[in-house]
Symmetry: C2
Subunit: 487 residues, 2 copies
């Protein structure tokens, strides 16, 4: 008896309305947060439970079919695009499975939205620290895949620091436990390897996260400058003072003005060339002392004014302008190119000058909005992909910016991942040996390269692909230890 087509077998598992195969229905899944990339999935499947997810992946494994896991699709590197293969959407897995207030941890399904988790734990005086700007939409599963950051990761650390354990479904359908709920690492750190693997190592069925006590006090300052250089130098001075702000964000003039023109207007000074948004948190006495220190550093470093949000409403408004800045850039042009380089913090003044010179050379407007405290730049250029001449100038400018970042000792992604977008840079920052080691690491989880194929590490970087028998290919084991005599 012939097997029924895979769409039918998947529909038997998840129900017919949760399998899409018409091209018109699939259109909505053909890009992520970077509309410049479009790839059409062959079909999409949306399991509703853990058990359905396991069955779906086992059907795909039995047929040798590649698939692309996807959360909310808010990514900014083209990482969740399925190019003519199966898209496995996990947004229906949205149960908060357990909350252990006393031990400050929660276990959630991968489709739980970041902000929803935070609202759920807030009444208990807790928070989940990583706060990507897309927190209102992005999922915990996606955050794990990208090792997501956010403004408050300057003080609190990225997703890797807040995930204790993961139940993972490997691409061959096997279920494994990674890490442990006590946060300790018994044996090799499978958890560490999985976080940030961009969907290439399989799918999280549940994630146990560490929660953090809400600080007693939060104060937010807005410092504005008539020069980008002064704001960059003040950034270094604040960090050098020994204060660890909860967040230290930078927006330049073009970004300020596009935000102020949008519905997210936050009351930023339109004529400034740069603003810093600095947040301090902790116990009241300490925060008050730090606030005065930071204010003095800003004013001493050339700030025109330092404004302190007087209440939570004002604070949220200042943050909304920052968090929605990428969205506001949609006003400038239909497409957006977003970068995510990380540079040594001391290089900030120099690199911002260099970016300005490059933007003048190519006649493009670069909007800089970024996590200054940890040197994680986001230079963005809004443009129309329908204008080939403009596209070419924009891409040349961006390549030159990225090359400049790499030259000063930087790397190509801080929090958005490599995905499709940054694969071309991988060979300029890693040696052939290191890229091959990544191929081998992937092989431990997904030797057939079926989960999110064609992303992160270019396939030609894997020695195996060139027909070179890998020096590190597993050999049969006979006994342990099986060592020749030392002559």
């Amino acid at each position: 008896m012939q097997k029924p087509p895979v769409a039918e077998r998947l529909a038997d598992i998840v129900g017919e309305k949760h399998v899409l195969s018409r091209q018109s229905e699939l259109l909505v899944y053909n890009s992520d947060g970077l509309p410049g990339y479009r790839r059409q999935p062959r079909l999409a499947v949306f399991p509703g439970t853990r058990e359905e997810t396991i069955k779906v992946v086992r059907v795909l494994a039995a047929d040798g079919l590649p698939f692309v896991p996807r959360g909310a699709g808010t990514g900014l590197s083209g990482g969740a695009l399925a190019d003519d293969v199966v898209l496995l959407g996990l947004h229906r897995l949205k149960k908060i499975i357990s909350l252990d207030v006393a031990n400050m941890r929660a276990t959630v399904e991968p489709g739980v939205v970041n902000l929803r988790l935070n609202r759920h734990v807030a009444p208990h005086g807790l928070l989940y620290a990583p706060d990507p700007s897309s927190e209102a939409a992005c999922t915990i599963g996606g955050n794990v895949a990208e090792n997501a950051g956010g403004p408050h990761c300057l003080k609190y650390g990225v997703t890797l620091n807040h995930v204790l354990a993961i139940t993972a479904l490997l691409p061959d359908g096997e279920v494994v436990e990674l890490g442990s709920a006590t946060g300790e690492r018994d044996g090799y750190d499978l958890r560490g390897a999985f976080i940030g693997s961009e969907g290439c190592f399989g799918v999280a069925l549940d994630v146990t996260v560490k929660l953090t006590p809400r600080p007693e006090t939060v104060r937010t300052l807005l410092a504005d400058f008539m020069s980008v250089d002064e704001a960059a130098r003040v950034t270094s001075a604040v960090i050098a003072s020994g204060i660890v702000p909860a967040a230290l964000e930078f927006m330049d003039g073009p970004t300020i003005r596009v935000v102020e023109d949008s519905v997210y207007a936050a009351g930023y000074p339109r004529d400034a060339e740069a603003i810093l948004l600095i947040e301090l948190d902790g116990l009241r006495a300490g925060v008050d002392a730090d606030l005065e220190t930071v204010r003095a550093i800003c004013l001493g470093g050339g700030a025109r004014a330092v404004k302190v949000a007087k209440d939570d409403a004002e604070r949220m408004k200042l943050w909304q302008g920052r968090k929605k800045a990428f969205g506001a850039m949609g006003r400038l042009a239909p497409h957006l190119i977003v970068q995510d380089a990380v540079i040594p913090r001391t290089q900030l003044p120099a690199i911002l000058k260099r970016i300005h010179a490059i933007s003048e050379k190519y006649g493009v407007v670069v909007c800089n909005v970024f996590h200054a405290g940890d040197g994680n730049l986001h230079p963005n250029i809004a443009y129309s992909a329908d204008d080939p001449a403009e596209s070419e100038r924009v891409h040349k400018a961006m390549t030159e910016i990225m090359t400049a970042c790499i030259e000063v000792g930087g790397s190509i992604t801080g929090e958005h991942g490599v995905g499709l977008d940054k694969m071309g840079y991988m060979e300029s920052i890693f040696t052939a040996n290191s890229l091959n080691a990544m191929c081998e690491l992937r092989g431990a989880f997904d030797p057939d390269r079926r989960s999110n194929p064609g992303k992160v590490v270019p396939i030609h970087s894997c020695r195996e692909w060139h027909g070179v028998a890998s020096a590190r290919a597993p050999r049969p084991l006979s006994a342990e230890p099986s060592h020749p005599a030392v002559a």
Copy 2:
């Protein structure tokens, strides 16, 4: 022409006096910090430079010889013991290669002693946060291998959070770069996988660490209690208050008394049943406020007295008693069994009662000294391995203690690693699938299992060993993406 014996070839690389092969010379390398385990290496080799290390490992690879990397040998899980194979000592690689004060990072060779790095960076107002109790002897390479913790990891996080990049020498002699000096994770997190791999994934040739500004103020409190239970409850209350102490350490009566009998006497109250050592750090105003809160919680929770160290000398003395406690236990008996379980913090009062009951049942004295703030227990029993009846009672008691920890949701190692000592527990805390995934992960770095053979994951947990063709064994790649049509 026949190849000369391996000892000669190694001596040609490192010089004759840096290769030991006489059994009498090798005796000193036959245990680590746990004298209960002894394994005699076949020979030992001590390269003096990075280049020599690479050459040595390539000679071993060419001959298919297993080897055990070793730093200072201060480990507490029998992880650095070479059982009739080559011991590769890295303590001569002790250069501090670079210090970048402005970007707060340093690159060091693996043999650099933890405390030496801290002394080197202190004049610049910086510190390297992970502070194992063996900091005066242990090496950064060993810290990476074990993902070492220490009292101050409660606030600052373990080694994983403080290592930006590693140049690793894989067991086949290939050099790979893991992570990046900006601290960002481009591509899969090879760095995360390597840290804590207990010498099974190869050797670090250099390690780039993140440095932390020294806090403006440090205050240390000693609270003493007439009951273990009260001290355990106060631990939970301090954490629940939202204050994050730099350290929160627990010592019980037997530990207090053995320390006070030793040369490390710290002035702890000999008649107390438990003391808490609580350290607060940060800016002065905040620390002063927290100090009063913590003092009030201790006194409200039953502390007889709370003493605050009045100067640095007094502070160092309080810490010395804690850090040398394991050493002091040598006064009780020649051998020591040390455990390293981690339990959910709320289980602390219950598990301490259980440990007490078990110690009474078997007539053994358990000394508890541990990182209470993060639920990382160290129950220790001093005994004589030469008395078979006593040994049996001690091992039975310890097994029961570990089983109790696992039953309340704990794990078997917080910071000492699995090594030889805890391999027997791996199957009680991980599923067969998870253990096999660890085998596969190891295979990505060391498919021949030549680096630190016979440690961490029992070999029979690897499916390959049973002759089962692994479902995840790499298959040849033809094209990318190489996917069958979706029918």
